[in-house]
């Protein structure tokens, strides 16, 4: 007798995954509809030129959205990402231009700066049980101050040797875009296929239950903020390469674009639920919207009003969708 062979087996067709798929299709549908709309409104929108512009603009936003997805999943938030970007960029430019350390040491120092900022936010928030909203608000000021003092409040020109990150590689696609896509894919796998990712989802869902299941919840939370810092520094790398300069005002207000992109992708601010891939769609939606509105000649105020409406609509639709899924 083999009892297990005849017992009711677990179906492999999974409902959660179907839900995930319909979400991607929904976001893709919105994206296609927006492209079509702007294509009708502006004859220049559906051209290679405008798509390559978008592709070269989004890498920083895309990698930071990966980090922010993790942060929101553990029920946190990081408001300092724009400032950390500026600070890391400033450190890099100072290392290369003033200290003449060379390109790669400069990059390493920038990444280390980002990681340290994240480690600080994470460690303070976790060990003193202070909401990350508050700690990262403090970090937002500190890192911005750091960026100003490192650059002497002036834009620091680096020159052409860093622009290779952003120079077209294949056709008009830059290494920065490819690297960003690779990071999105890695982030997605990390969240869905690893013990670390499982722990993050569990912590965001019910941290006390995780603790009582014998899991130490503090280290993964701090690591998430470090990851966020690292990805902000990588964002800095992309931005500095594009401008060939480090601007101490870079990334001001960027935290809101990053959070908006992640939320449009359907990641919950309450923690426990989210998808890196969906956040990437959110980034694409925001980028298409911005560049499309610019192309049809919308004024700055109009652009901001419409972006705001899109963010709220996306969240309302997602709420409606998840409520309906809950009822079923």
């Amino acid at each position: 007798m083999v009892p297990s062979a005849t017992s009711h087996s677990t179906p492999l067709t999974s409902r959660p995954r179907m839900g995930q798929l319909t979400r991607y299709f929904g976001l893709l549908g919105v994206l296609v509809a927006m492209c079509a709309l702007f294509g009708v409104l502006s004859e220049h929108f559906l051209t290679m030129a405008s798509f390559s512009t978008i592709a070269n603009q989004i890498p920083a936003l895309a990698v930071m959205a990966v980090g922010m997805t993790f942060v929101l999943i553990i029920g946190g938030i990081d408001l300092s990402v724009g400032s950390v970007l500026a600070f890391s960029g400033a450190v890099m430019s100072v290392a290369i231009v003033q200290w003449e350390l060379g390109l790669f040491p400069g990059i390493i120092l920038a990444l280390a700066t980002g990681i340290l900022c994240g480690a600080f936010t994470g460690a303070i928030s976790v060990s003193f049980k202070i909401p990350s909203f508050i700690v990262s608000l403090g970090m937002l000021e500190m890192a911005r101050g750091g960026a100003y003092s490192a650059t002497g409040s002036r834009t620091e020109y680096i020159g052409g040797n860093i622009s290779m990150i952003n120079d077209p590689l294949i056709g008009k696609i830059s290494p920065a875009f490819l690297l960003a896509v690779a990071i999105v894919v890695l982030g997605h796998i990390l969240l869905n296929r690893t013990v670390f990712g499982r722990h993050l989802i569990g912590i965001g869902t019910n941290e006390e239950a995780m603790r009582l299941a014998g899991i130490n919840t503090h280290p993964p939370k701090i690591v998430v903020f470090m990851l966020m810092g690292l990805l902000s520094a990588i964002g800095a790398l992309f931005q500095v390469a594009r401008m060939e300069a480090a601007d101490p005002n870079a990334g001001a207000g960027m935290e809101l674009s990053v959070i908006a992109a992640v939320v449009i992708g359907g990641t919950s601010l309450m923690g426990g639920r989210g998808s890196v891939l969906a956040s990437f769609f959110g980034v694409l939606i925001i980028a298409v919207l911005e560049s499309g509105l610019a192309q049809i000649g919308a004024s700055e105020p109009t652009k901001r009003i419409i972006t705001g409406i899109v963010i709220i609509t996306a969240v309302v639709l997602d709420m409606y969708r998840s409520r309906r899924a809950n009822r079923e």
């Binding site: 499982r198 299941a213 014998g214 899991i215």
Partner: protein, 507 residues
């Protein structure tokens, strides 16, 4: 001599259908000056029935008559206008507002458009006195009260104005024994005033004690209405479950070994005072005591969730001082918490995720989860524990309480812990499923696992345990061997510590 009871409300063929019928063809009378106990398993239709009577739901079939007139309340306000009031299971108080403000939330007295606090407090005081809250300031925010006191405020709100029929849905679930006594006194007083009361509870001994008549629902149908004096608790259980439930557990042919966990003079604050005991391998040791007697706190110390002030614990002969639950789990100790939704399960996540949580290492290599291994582990445990579900990927929140508890047990079964600390393992679980849990615990013990079971249900402990230890006011006051215990002795022990502290405080 009994007087012919005066009928207040009469239900005829009441039914409620959503997609499937949840209540069918209920004929029931509510009498003035009588307590009607309403019993049934979860989902039997008790809450639906009381919501229909209270005007929160409309019946899809049948009629109701209130004092001979047709009764069909469109909403709760209409029902309350006739004096039909209900105290719901969930608290619906505004925690930042004061007691008095909560009591009169829909009719706050005003003077020149401003809140008239003096009148408000004057009106609140007599109401508070009726439920024994007269020692409190009516201006205290409800959020500062204990959960039991909040429940009493909720009940006081039900008593405002005319009250002819009062429905109490699980009113004692959050109360301490002292508060429960106060509630019972209040119920008896209302009954003497001619109010008709409906008492819904999972605690059958309370129903048996309070009710004049007992009505039992099963799968949406009324299966039994009889005078309480004609029914024993066992009869109620049989009617609720619809079959004989096994009373005997297969606890024979186990080998109970030497001590695996030895606790010496363990203390933490006032909650746990100088507790010593030992747990033998393969044994089921019960912990009885009142709510707040320190049992849960003791388990949290053993599990590393809290830290001891003093004392010593030996695990398999070696000193054991866990600094975190992680260390306890690594040492082979598991704790199943009383509140499985808040402290045990990841409700929106899959059964498989919940089952492998404490032992992810065994379904992963170098940090990568092997998803097919995970699904097959979950499938195996679902079969073994007979978890009723659609499959391993179903979200835990969609399961019934009993099946959720099986998922928690599956997690620790998979972790293969040697010592299991179970805090109220059958709380909120249907009687049928409860016996399945007992069977699982007995099976664990047969496999040589050592179990500590905390329960407020003495029958449960007497059924399951080899020994029962009793805690009172933080101290372990007595331990009884199987065969040498009786209910009265255990209860006396459970109260003993409280009597001492009171007399000490008085002295």
């Amino acid at each position: 001599m009994t007087v012919q009871p005066h009928s207040l409300l009469r239900l005829r063929g009441i039914g409620k259908t959503y997609v499937a019928p949840v209540l069918q063809d209920v004929d029931l009378e509510f009498h003035e000056g009588e307590v009607l106990g309403l019993a049934g398993e979860n989902g039997a239709g008790k809450s639906t029935l009381s919501r229909i009577v209270g005007g929160l739901l409309a019946a899809t079939s049948g009629t109701m008559e209130f004092l001979g007139d047709g009764y069909k309340p469109a909403n709760r306000r209409e029902a309350e206008h006739l004096g039909v009031r209900m105290v719901l299971q969930e608290l619906s108080l505004v925690s930042t507002l004061s007691i008095a403000e909560n009591l009169f939330l829909d009719a706050l007295p005003r003077r020149f458009g401003l809140l008239d606090r003096q009148t408000l407090h004057e009106r609140a005081r007599p109401l508070m006195a009726r439920v024994g809250l007269d020692g409190l300031d009516p201006g205290v925010p409800v959020g500062q009260l204990g959960i039991g006191q909040q429940q009493m405020v909720e009940i006081a709100r039900g008593l405002i104005g005319q009250c002819r029929l009062l429905i109490l849905d699980e009113p004692s679930a959050m109360l301490t024994d002292r508060e429960t006594e106060l509630l019972f006194a209040q119920i008896n007083q209302l009954r003497d005033q001619g109010v008709s009361l409906v008492y819904i509870s999972h605690r059958l001994d309370e129903i048996k004690r309070l009710a004049d008549r007992i009505a039992i629902l099963r799968d949406g149908r009324l299966v039994e209405v009889r005078a309480a004096s004609e029914m024993q608790v066992d009869d109620i259980v049989r009617a609720m479950v619809g079959r004989e439930v096994g009373n005997a557990l297969d606890l024979a042919d186990r080998s109970i070994g030497g001590p695996i966990l030895e606790v010496r003079n363990l203390s933490r604050g006032h909650a746990v005072r100088d507790v010593s005991f030992s747990l033998r391998q393969g044994e089921i040791l019960g912990f009885a005591g009142l709510v707040g007697s320190g049992r849960t706190e003791l388990m949290r110390l053993l599990f590393g969730a809290d830290h001891r002030d003093s004392g010593e614990v030996l695990l398999e002969g070696l000193p054991f001082n866990p600094r975190s639950p992680r260390q306890a789990v690594q040492a082979g100790i598991a704790m199943i918490t009383e509140d499985r939704k808040e402290q045990g399960l990841l409700l929106p996540l899959a059964i498989s995720t919940n089952v492998t949580l404490a032992n992810l290492a065994s379904v992963s290599t170098a940090g990568w989860i092997d998803q097919s291994a995970e699904v097959s582990v979950a499938g195996r445990l679902i079969d073994e524990l007979k978890v009723r579900c659609r499959g391993g990927r179903q979200a835990v929140k969609e399961l019934s309480g009993g099946n959720q508890q099986k998922v928690v047990l599956a997690r620790w079964l998979y972790r293969d812990c040697e010592v299991l600390l179970l805090d109220e393992p059958t709380r909120g679980i249907d009687i049928g499923a409860r016996y399945e849990i007992y069977g699982l615990l007995a099976a664990l013990s047969r496999r040589g696992k050592s179990l500590i079971v905390i329960s407020s249900d003495l029958r449960e402990l007497m059924l399951l345990c080899d020994r029962i230890s009793v805690m009172s006011a933080g101290r372990l006051v007595a331990t009884f061997e199987r065969g040498a215990w009786d209910q009265d002795a255990i209860l006396t022990a459970a109260f003993s510590g409280h009597l001492q502290t009171t007399s000490q405080e008085l002295a």
